[in-house]
C-alpha cells in the first residue's frame, strides 16, 4: 500500500521537475528574445513616465505656445463713446503679445443697419470685406459704434477666422477681456443700484474641497490604472504565449518536444509558467513604475488639478492591494492567452486569434475605470471586469477585504478551470493529423479570403444603400436591401466558392434538407434568446448608457410599429431571416469555414453581421444572435434552422411589443426542450455526413 501511494507522489515530483526544465528552457528563450523583453519589461516600466511626461509636456507646450503667440487686433472705436473707447483701448494694449492697429471700418458704418437686421446681401458683403482685411495681417477685426436703432447703447462687432490658430487665440483674448469688463461694469452698476441689498452676494457660497488630495488623485488614477495594467499583462503575456505555443508549431520544434519522455501536462505547465512569469514581471514592473512616477510628481492627467497631482503621495498599501487584485487576473489572462494561442498554426494566425480576446479584456477594464459599477459579490466574480473594479477601488482607497478576497478566489478558480483544458492544447492528433495537400490548403485559403471580402462588401453595401433606399421609401428600401441586395451578394459569393470547390451553389448556401427537429429546436430557442437579450440590453444600458439623443432618434424603423401584424412579421421577421441568413450564414460562413476553424469562422461572420446593423449599442446582442444562428448552421449543416431562429427571434421581439402575454419570462422555459431536441437530432446524425462537406 505504501508503495502504491508513493508511486503517484514520485510521478508527481518527476512531472514537476520536468515542468521546471521546460520552464527554464522557455524563459531562457524568451529572455533572449528582444521583442519579448520589450513587451514584458521595457514597455510596461517606461509606459507611465513616458505617458505622464509626454502629456505634461504637450499641455505645457500648447499653453506656452498660445500665450506667447503674437497677435494683431485691428480696432476702430472712433464712433464709440470716448470713455468706453479709451477703456477698451487701454485694456487691449495691456494684453501680452498683442499689437493694436487701427482699422478703416467705413464698410460697417455704411451697412450697420442692414447688418444688424441680418440681410443676406449685407452679410455676404461683410464676409468678403472681412476676409480681405484679415488677409492683410490682423488676426481679429474689432469695430465699435452706437447701436443703429438704440443709439444710446454701444454695439461691438468682431470678425475672426476659425481656420487660423492666431485668429482663434486673438478672439479668445478679446472675449476674455470683454467678459471681465462686462462683469466689472455690471457689478459697479449693481453696487450703485442695490447698495448693501445685493442678493447675489448673500447666495455666493464659500466653496471648500474636503477631499483628501490622495483620494482625488486615487480617483483619477483609478480611471486609468485598470486599462493600463491589463494592457501590460496582455502585451507581455500575448507575445510570450504566441512564442511558446504558436511559434513552436511554426518553427516545427513541437514535434521534437512531443517525442521526449515528458508528459503533456508538464510541457504545458512549464510553458504556462513561463508566460505567467513574464506577464507578472510586466505588471509588477508597471505598478512599481507607476508608484515611482507618481512619487516623483510627474503625474499629469486630464481633469486632475496640477496642485493635487503634485501633492500627496500614493501610499504603498494601495499599490499592494492593486497588486493583490491584478495577480489572479494576470494568471487568468495568461491561461486564456495560452488556450487561444495554442490553437494557432502560425504566429500570425495567433495574433489574429488573440485580437478578440484582447478586446474582451480591455473593454471591461476600460468600463470598470469609467463607470460607477460597485464591486459586489456578483461583479467580483466576472473575469477581468471584477479584477479591474478591484484595481479601481484599490486606487481610490475604498477596496474592502471581502470583495478583494472573493475576486481573487474567483479569478484563481477561473484560472484552474482553464488549466484543466491546457494539456489538450498540444493535442498531437489535432496538430499533425491532416490529410490535405498544400494545394488544397491554398485553395481553401483563397475561398476563405474571398468570403471575407464578400462579407465586408455586404456590410459596406448595406451601410451605403440601406439608409438611402429607406429615405426614398421606408418599406421598399428595407425589402430591396433584404430580399434583393443581400441575396444577390450571397449568390455571387456562393458561386465563387462553389466553383472552386466543385460543389453546387445550393449546397454552399446550405439550402439542403435537414431534420425537421432541428428547425423545431431552433424555433423554440427564440423566446429564451429574446429574454437573455432584453436582460443584456438592460445591463448594457447601466454600463454604456445610450445617449438621450440616440434614444430620441430611435432606430429609424419606428414606422414599422404602425403596420398590421402580418405585414410587420413579413418585414421584420421573414425578410431578414431570408436575406441576412442567405448572406451571412449561407455564403460568408460557408466560405470562411473552408479555411478557418469553426470558432473563428463563427466569430468573423457574427462580427460582420453585427457591424452591418451599424449600432454600437446593438453590436453585442446582434453578435450573439449571429453566433447562435451560425452554430445552428454549422451544427445542422443546413441553413433552415438558422433562418427559423432568426425569423422566430425577430418575430418574438416585435410581438412582445403588442402582446403583453408574450413578455412573461416563463416562455424562456421552451429553451430547454429546444436544446434537447437539437442535441437529439445532432446525436443521431451520421459521423461523416456528406450533406455539407465543408461546414
Amino acid at each position: 500500500m505504501a508503495t502504491s501511494r508513493a508511486k503517484p507522489a514520485v510521478a508527481g515530483t518527476r512531472t514537476l521537475g520536468l515542468a521546471l526544465v521546460i520552464l527554464c528552457g522557455e524563459l531562457r528563450g524568451l529572455l533572449r528574445d528582444r521583442r519579448a523583453l520589450f513587451a514584458g519589461v521595457i514597455l510596461p516600466v517606461l509606459l507611465y513616465p513616458l505617458m505622464f511626461l509626454l502629456n505634461g509636456k504637450l499641455e505645457q507646450v500648447a499653453r506656452s505656445n498660445m500665450a506667447e503667440r503674437e497677435v494683431q487686433i485691428a480696432c476702430d472705436f472712433t464712433r464709440l463713446e470716448p470713455g468706453l473707447a479709451e477703456e477698451l483701448t487701454n485694456r487691449l494694449q495691456a494684453l501680452p503679445a498683442t499689437e493694436i492697429t487701427t482699422l478703416d471700418a467705413s464698410f460697417w458704418y455704411a451697412n450697420e443697419l442692414a447688418l444688424h437686421e441680418g440681410r443676406q446681401d449685407a452679410v455676404d458683403a461683410e464676409l468678403r470685406e472681412a476676409r480681405l482685411l484679415l488677409a492683410r495681417g490682423p488676426s481679429v477685426l474689432l469695430i465699435g459704434g452706437p447701436h443703429p436703432i438704440l443709439p444710446a447703447r454701444p454695439l461691438l462687432r468682431m470678425c475672426h477666422s476659425k481656420s487660423d490658430e492666431a485668429s482663434g487665440e486673438a478672439q479668445a483674448r478679446v472675449e476674455s477681456l470683454l467678459t471681465t469688463l462686462r462683469e466689472e461694469l455690471r457689478d459697479q452698476r449693481l453696487a450703485v443700484a442695490l447698495g448693501a441689498q445685493d442678493p447675489g452676494r448673500w447666495l455666493l457660497p464659500s466653496i471648500v474641497d474636503v477631499a483628501d488630495p490622495s483620494a482625488t488623485k486615487g480617483a483619477a488614477l483609478g480611471r486609468l490604472l485598470p486599462v493600463i495594467a491589463i494592457l501590460a499583462v496582455l502585451s507581455a503575456g500575448a507575445y510570450a504565449a504566441l512564442s511558446s505555443f504558436a511559434g513552436e508549431r511554426e518553427a516545427q520544434t513541437l514535434e521534437t518536444l512531443l517525442v521526449q519522455p515528458v508528459p503533456a501536462r508538464a510541457i504545458v505547465a512549464g510553458k504556462y509558467a513561463a508566460v505567467a512569469l513574464l506577464a507578472l514581471c510586466a505588471v509588477i514592473g508597471n505598478l512599481a513604475s507607476f508608484q515611482v512616477t507618481v512619487s516623483l510628481g510627474w503625474l499629469s492627467l486630464p481633469g486632475l488639478d496640477p496642485a493635487a497631482a503634485a501633492d500627496a503621495r500614493l501610499d504603498w498599501l494601495r499599490i499592494a492591494l492593486a497588486l493583490l487584485a491584478v495577480v489572479p487576473a494576470t494568471l487568468l489572462i495568461c491561461a486564456l492567452l495560452v488556450l487561444v494561442s495554442a490553437r494557432a498554426r502560425t504566429f500570425r494566425e495567433g495574433q489574429q486569434l488573440l485580437f478578440p480576446l484582447t478586446m474582451a479584456c480591455v473593454i471591461p477594464a476600460g468600463l470598470a475605470g469609467s463607470t460607477d459599477v460597485a464591486l459586489d459579490t456578483w461583479t467580483a466574480c466576472v473575469p477581468v471586469f471584477g479584477a479591474s473594479l478591484a484595481l479601481r477601488d484599490a486606487m481610490r482607497g475604498t477596496l474592502a477585504q471581502g470583495p478583494l478576497a472573493l475576486c481573487s478566489l474567483a479569478h484563481v478558480g477561473w484560472t484552474l478551470l482553464c488549466m484543466r483544458s491546457m494539456p489538450g492544447t498540444i493535442d498531437a492528433e489535432r496538430i499533425f493529423a491532416t490529410s490535405s495537400s498544400e494545394e488544397e490548403q491554398t485553395q481553401r485559403q483563397v475561398q476563405s479570403r474571398a468570403a471575407l471580402m464578400w462579407g465586408l462588401t455586404g456590410v459596406i453595401a448595406t451601410y451605403m444603400l440601406r439608409d438611402w433606399l429607406q429615405s426614398l421609401s421606408p418599406v421598399g428600401g428595407l425589402l430591396i436591401t433584404l430580399l434583393l441586395i443581400l441575396p444577390a451578394l450571397a449568390l455571387f459569393c456562393a458561386r465563387g466558392v462553389a466553383k472552386r470547390a466543385k460543389e453546387r451553389v445550393v449546397q454552399v448556401l446550405g439550402l439542403v434538407r435537414c431534420a425537421p427537429g432541428a428547425v423545431l429546436g431552433a424555433l423554440m430557442l427564440a423566446p429564451g434568446l429574446a429574454l437573455v437579450m432584453r436582460e443584456w440590453i438592460h445591463w448594457q444600458q447601466r454600463l454604456l448608457p445610450m445617449p438621450t439623443r440616440a434614444l430620441e432618434q430611435g432606430t429609424g424603423l419606428e414606422f414599422l410599429m404602425e403596420l398590421s401584424l402580418p405585414a410587420l412579421l413579413a418585414l421584420v421577421a421573414l425578410a431578414p431571416a431570408i436575406g441576412e441568413e442567405l448572406f451571412f450564414r449561407g455564403a460568408v460562413l460557408s466560405g470562411l469555414r473552408r479555411d478557418h476553424r469553426p470558432l473563428k469562422a463563427l466569430l468573423v461572420q457574427a462580427a460582420l453581421f453585427a457591424a452591418a446593423h451599424a449600432s454600437i449599442y446593438r453590436f453585442l446582442p446582434t453578435l450573439a444572435v449571429g453566433l447562435l444562428a451560425g452554430t445552428l448552421r454549422l451544427g445542422s449543416k443546413s441553413l433552415w434552422p438558422a433562418m427559423a431562429l432568426h425569423a422566430a427571434y425577430n418575430g418574438w421581439v416585435v410581438s412582445t411589443e403588442r402582446f403583453e402575454v408574450l413578455r412573461d419570462p416563463a416562455w424562456a422555459a421552451l429553451t430547454l426542450p429546444g436544446l434537447l431536441i437539437l442535441w437529439a437530432v445532432w446525436e443521431r446524425r451520421p459521423a461523416a455526413s456528406a450533406a455539407l462537406p465543408v461546414a
Binding site: G29, A251, E255, P261, P263, E429, F432, S435, V694
Partner: protein, 258 residues
C-alpha cells in the same frame, strides 16, 4: 538507464520495432473520414536499417509518428524495444531517438544548451549530463560552435546538433522521418554516414524517404507503402525478384501500379 529486452538464447529475437494491423483514421472536415493507414504490419530488428519508401501522402509520417507515440493508432498495436506504444508511451520515448524532417532546434538556445535541455528531459543530471554532453560535442565535432545560437548555425551544423540531440540518451531504436529532405549534398552525405554507422552499433534505424537512391544504398530491407498499405517488404534483391525489375524506380512503379 537502458532496460531493453535482450533476446533470450534459443528463443526468437525480440524485434526492435513491431507493428501489427496498424490502422489510422482521421476525421477531416473537408473529406469526412480518411483512412491514412490500413492494416499495416511491420517488423524491424536490432542492427537493421529499414527504409519506408513511398510518395507524399502515402502514410510514411503517420506510421513513424504512431511508433514515436506522437499519434495514437485507431486500431492495431505497435511495440518499440518491447514496449507497447499505447500502454507506456513515456517509456517508449525514453528508448527511441526521433528526428523529423525539420531540424527541430530552438533558435534561441545554443548547441550546448540544446543538448543539456533535452538531456534533462531524459533524466540526466549533474556530472552524468555534463560528461554525456561533452562526449557528444566531441564525437559530432560540435565543440567549435557549441556556444553559438542554433538559429545562427548553418544547415549542416544544425543537422549535427539534431543528430546529437536524438542519440544523447543512447537509444536502441532510431526513427528518422525524411532525414535528408532539404539538406545540401554534404549534409545529406553526413546523415547517410551516420545512419550507416548505426548498423554497427546494433541500433535499429527505421527511416522514411522518397529518395530511391538513398533507400537503395542504405537499407537492409525496404517497405513500399502506398495509400496507407504496405505493399511489399524485403531486401532489394527480393523486391527485384518479385517484380522482375532491376532498378528500384521500376520496382517501385510496378508495386504501386503507376
Amino acid at each position: 538507464m537502458n532496460t531493453s529486452t535482450a533476446p533470450e538464447r534459443g528463443s526468437p529475437p525480440t524485434p526492435a520495432i513491431q507493428a501489427k494491423a496498424l490502422r489510422k483514421v482521421y476525421k477531416d472536415s473537408e473529406r469526412g473520414t480518411v483512412e491514412a493507414l490500413r492494416e499495416l504490419d511491420l517488423e524491424c530488428g536490432y542492427g537493421e536499417i529499414f527504409g519506408l519508401l513511398g510518395p507524399n501522402g502515402a502514410g510514411k509520417s503517420t506510421t513513424l509518428r504512431i511508433l514515436a507515440t506522437i499519434l495514437a493508432p485507431t486500431s492495431g498495436s505497435a511495440c518499440v524495444d518491447g514496449i507497447d506504444v499505447g500502454q507506456d508511451p513515456l517509456e517508449v520515448r525514453r528508448r527511441l531517438g526521433y528526428l523529423s524532417a525539420s531540424t527541430g532546434l530552438y533558435p534561441r538556445l545554443t548547441a550546448r544548451e540544446t543538448l543539456e535541455y533535452f538531456g534533462k528531459m531524459h533524466g540526466l543530471q549533474g556530472e552524468a549530463l555534463r560528461s554525456r554532453v561533452e562526449d557528444l560535442l566531441r564525437s559530432f565535432a560540435i565543440e567549435s560552435y557549441q556556444h553559438g545560437l542554433c538559429g545562427g548555425l548553418s544547415t549542416g551544423q544544425k543537422q549535427r546538433v539534431s543528430i546529437a540531440r536524438a542519440v544523447l540518451h543512447e537509444p536502441k531504436v532510431l526513427i528518422l522521418d525524411e532525414p535528408t529532405t532539404g539538406l545540401d549534398i554534404l549534409s545529406s552525405s553526413a546523415m547517410i554516414d551516420f545512419v550507416e554507422s548505426c548498423r554497427g552499433q546494433g541500433r535499429c534505424v527505421l527511416f522514411s524517404t522518397h529518395i530511391l537512391s538513398e533507400a537503395e544504398r542504405l537499407c537492409d530491407r525496404i517497405g513500399v507503402i502506398h495509400q496507407g498499405r504496405l505493399l511489399a517488404v524485403g531486401t532489394l534483391a527480393e523486391l527485384r525478384e518479385r517484380t522482375g525489375k532491376h532498378w528500384l524506380e521500376d520496382v517501385f512503379k510496378t508495386l504501386v501500379g503507376a
